[in-house]
Symmetry: C2
Subunit: 118 residues, 2 copies
């Protein structure tokens, strides 16, 4: 278990919903849903570093992402298995909205990194 | 359209998630999911009126509930059809967690009105 991450059993739905109730953090889920680990500098574009640090903390503390140090950076990945076990269908529903709901798609596209917005 | 309620097309996923990222407001959804209109004084128990007013506003402004004046009170109902149309599966997933996820069940039981907690 990494420091500052809740155990799977400690994740609370209300914290996950609060974490995802923000267009930038929903964008992060959109990017990480592709799988694997992403350098935190490559997940959102056009956002000041101090703001990013805040968003990583909210996502990590609520149990949405893993964050692990790697060299000078942190690597981020989605806790997909844990979230799917605790709240079956939640991520699929949210990713479905990102894909199919016009307003959600728009609000999670603005700060995509260049490669992901293709 | 009632005043202060977003149109169905204006509802934003991030606002809905923020609204529901709170155990009391998730309890409201749990109660209203049974259908019909509920007097706002009968939806949560043990909460001061000023706190309730705040929660109704967050739920109404985000598009989660309808709130309409009736005599000296307001009647509340879930915007189930609108939410199901905009974000298919979201309410079902959340209500599934309320039913099956121990932590979520616990945090949405504390302030149920006497009749609903049976």
């Amino acid at each position: 278990m990494l420091a500052n991450h809740p155990d799977k059993e400690q994740i609370r739905l209300e914290n996950v919903l609060t974490a995802l109730g923000n267009p930038l953090r929903l964008t992060v889920v959109r990017v990480l849903a592709g799988g694997g680990e992403h350098a935190c500098s490559a997940v959102l574009s056009g956002i000041p570093k101090s703001t990013l640090t805040h968003h990583w903390r909210v996502l990590r503390d609520s149990g949405v992402i893993w964050q692990r140090p790697f060299g000078r950076e942190n690597l981020l990945s989605l806790r997909r298995e844990d979230l799917d076990t605790r709240f079956p269908g939640l991520l699929d529903v949210l990713l479905g909205a990102v894909e199919n709901d016009e307003l959600t798609q728009e609000s999670t596209t603005r700060n995509l990194p260049p490669l992901s917005s293709k």
